[in-house]
Symmetry: C2
Subunit: 505 residues, 2 copies
């Protein structure tokens, strides 16, 4: 299967239907396909060859859609960049993946000189929409390379427990199997209609919905990035039918006074991921969006990304609503002990997943790959249990990761940054409950002798080393950290102060 | 992907849900899975090794379901037998595929001595349900071989233009991609509910719905074979939600006085294939089944099988209703000339299809395979055109094939049989419109000197050589056949007398 197949089908079936709507700019499938084929030719002309990596550092737009198709059309591999990372984090991912050509939109243009310095692999920067238009205008359409199957479609960087991000290699089949399987369940992106890219397109959660919308046809609507008002306006203006949001975005959308004026009645289906939704937010969302069905998708980049789905009916059941749903049609899900043996129902273990959506591996990390995929199952690092009906309940992240506003933050990364500050003697970073962010990055710090508590200073320090969203939003100073007999910091003890004993995530 | 994956998922999610309902016999997914794993062990014990072919000659039942899963579980290949064929046709397919182990149910037991004689490849006959139960009871469950991906799942025999049937090799991925893609379109087998196997399970149309139901979960209900009353009873008694039928069956169901007493209101979705439905039958069906949505699927065994789908909305449009729908999410469809160049919209050419559902090839027929798959596209042999919205309209079968009651009949086979009769000087076999069968096998015969018209005698003669459903249902005697300058019989001229000029199929 090929990510570009949808283009050929759409041109035959719906040439005059809008493929993309971005602000006032509407491009039909026929126009979009033509631009893709010309942009692919331009990439070739810029020296992009088979399997070369083409990076995208940009907010959401119709041009993002065109690059996501033009890169495989030219037989190359896409590396979407996390726009929230610092220049050094971005440079690491570009350098690690050996990305030579990078599209940078107007928003990120100021970062280019620093990226050029930090990532010497970069040979060509395509700077802004006008340059893309110029490339499109000056090249003839090339035939589709028909790249697909087990060939790499993209390298998607995710945070890592070791403090360095890892490149997840996903094939065309990986991404298409996840999208087809999720659609087949009947509770993902719905046939027909208009999907709104409100979540960042560089993130596989949104990228997967993009793949699904392409497969079953319809229209993409993009807003550059999430704002409650911008999303509400786009839904009303373009009669958007489905959208994927993280719970934080849902909360902002339904609570926003600016969004309140807009008519959201066209929205029939909302998929949310990354973390369960709080009862309070779900209730408010159901009131604000009475005609909208909710589906939760649980997964990870390594799973391209969907593992389980919790459909609209299950949302009517208060206990199921706190689960992550059941294995989607394309996967098997199992909970195992540390010897990879399936544990009894109800017992907590690691969630492992098997299916054709499981990544090819980590880029240039054969050992990490082997470890993650041992026995043919993707080891998610998430702790959880399965009930008697196969519903998966996530209780802990074995990988020590925080999901804040839909972004994964690995504690180790934040702890590494904190530890560089002279005032920090010891620290532990955990996720604590937060009405707005789902989880909030929270640091527990033991001060070095002679230093005074200064949480602002520590936050600023972190932001110089890691992305702003990873920096602790709250800091707590303590005399000492709870440790086990072996000297390991007992994060469970720290977390229990915030989550209480009833915490099931 | 693996056909058996569904078993592992269903056992985790719905162990107590009925997997199969056959008459009064209900087996849960846990029970069914256990029987599958034991039956697989028994097959191994009977000498079935990796890649060996296991045949199924049986009416629909829960045991058919168990074999369809046990054979890949044991790492083998299934060869479902067309139950309507004559012993010599069946023997040809068994011998050609080298099938060593054959399950034969009670209905076909009388055929065994003849099959043993005609197909010496057969080493083991598993005769009847009681023997299957014995095998299940006397073997321990074996672990799933996890056969899947591009490995062969089955060899499915179809009629051939040359007069001999060909074995279509389908992989696990072929079958699963077709089922996932069709489900993703939202107009195939629906999530949840109960699917009724009323069409023969040996046929890929039903087998594909079986795959889909397994993927998205739910229950299989089987009747041994189609009868209007049996189907109506099963729908009422088991609250069946979806079914696949050929138009002939729909007509019989909605017109049957016996079926009229039964409550069919549980039926939410009906897929029909093989041929378009006549307006008259569709209107009567819509009246009898007011809560049922209709979808047409067009495809062929070589496409595992779905190429295009015509969803419920399109059925409200009189002109679309006569089309075969549009390319499903997993395929591309194109209409080409004899040089394989795409023709303009509206122009008639051959329908070709591309996608991961396209067969591995014809068993032991590399030349036929190369011809059918040239340029990476499956050449369907069906003539048709595509309208501006991508709807495919079938106008003729380049392969000279008749679809009667959902079965493919190749004219060449019937003509070969007819020609063996001393009274037949020349003949041509065509499909003519028939209210009950969609198309009826019709023979146009020029008698040899001194012979009298005797259509009954000719029909009986044919039935001795080919399956009963292939024998002409009507015979017309003429002085001469219309021929072209090159001496080729002009079937178009013969057909026009029956179909009129407005015929679009």
């Amino acid at each position: 299967m090929q990510l570009t197949q949808c283009v050929h089908r759409a041109v035959r079936q719906t040439p005059d239907l809008p493929a993309t709507i971005f602000g006032d700019r509407v491009r039909t499938w026929a126009e979009s396909a033509d631009r893709v084929a010309r942009l692919a030719a331009a990439l070739r002309d810029l020296g992009v060859g088979q399997d070369d990596r083409v990076g995208l550092l940009a907010l959401n737009s119709d041009i993002y859609h065109e690059f996501l198709l033009a890169v495989p059309w030219a037989d190359a591999v896409v590396t979407p960049v996390n726009t929230r990372w610092t220049p050094s984090e971005i440079a690491f991912s570009l350098q690690d993946s050996g990305t030579s050509v990078l599209y940078v939109d107007e928003t990120f243009a100021p970062m280019v000189p620093q990226l050029r310095e930090l990532a010497p692999c970069l040979t060509t920067i395509i700077g802004g929409a006008a340059v893309v238009d110029y490339l499109v205008d000056t090249h003839e359409p090339m035939p589709d390379s028909r790249r697909g199957g087990n060939s790499m479609a993209g390298i998607f960087y995710t945070g890592g427990t070791t403090g360095h991000s890892k490149g997840v290699m996903l094939s065309h089949d990986n991404m298409i199997v996840s999208a087809l399987g999720s659609c087949a369940a009947g509770t993902y992106v719905q046939p027909g209609g208009r999907y709104l890219h409100a979540a960042p397109m560089f993130h596989l959660a949104d990228c997967s919905a993009w793949t699904a919308r392409n497969l079953i046809g319809g229209t993409h609507v993009m807003v550059p990035s999430f704002t409650p008002q911008g999303v509400a306006e786009a839904i009303e203006r373009h009669r958007v039918t489905d959208v994927l949001l993280v719970p934080t975005m849902i909360q902002l959308l339904v609570d926003s006074p600016e969004a309140a004026e807009h008519d959201l009645s066209s929205l029939r289906h909302l998929v949310y991921g990354a973390s369960p939704i709080s009862e309070a937010v779900l209730d408010r969302a159901a009131k604000r969006l009475p005609g909208t069905e909710f589906t939760q998708a649980y997964g990870m980049t390594e799973l391209a990304p969907v593992a389980t789905l919790l459909g609209p009916e299950a949302h009517h059941d208060a206990s199921l609503r706190r689960s992550a749903g059941r294995a989607a049609p394309h996967v098997e899900v199992m909970v195992v002990d540390d010897q990879d043996r399936e544990v009894p129902r109800g017992a907590v273990g690691e969630i492992v997943v098997r299916g054709d959506n499981v990544m090819l591996g980590y880029w240039n990390q054969p050992e990490e790959t082997k470890k993650a995929l041992r026995g043919g199952w993707m080891h998610t690092g998430d702790g959880g249990y399965m009930d008697d009906d196969g519903y998966v309940h996530i209780v802990d992240r074995l990988k020590d990761m925080i999901v804040s506003g839909g972004e994964n933050v690995y504690s180790a990364e934040v702890e590494n940054a904190l530890a560089k500050h002279p005032a920090v003697a010891a620290c532990a970073v955990i996720g604590v409950p937060d009405e707005q962010w789902g989880e909030r990055v929270h640091a527990v710090v033991v001060l070095a002798d002679g230093h005074e508590p200064a949480d602002d200073e520590l936050r600023e320090h972190c932001k110089r080393h890691i992305a702003g969203y990873k920096a602790p939003r709250s800091v707590e100073f303590v005399e000492e950290l709870p440790v086990s007999g072996a000297g390991k910091i007992l994060k469970r003890v720290l977390r229990s102060r915030h989550w209480g004993s009833s915490r099931d995530r």
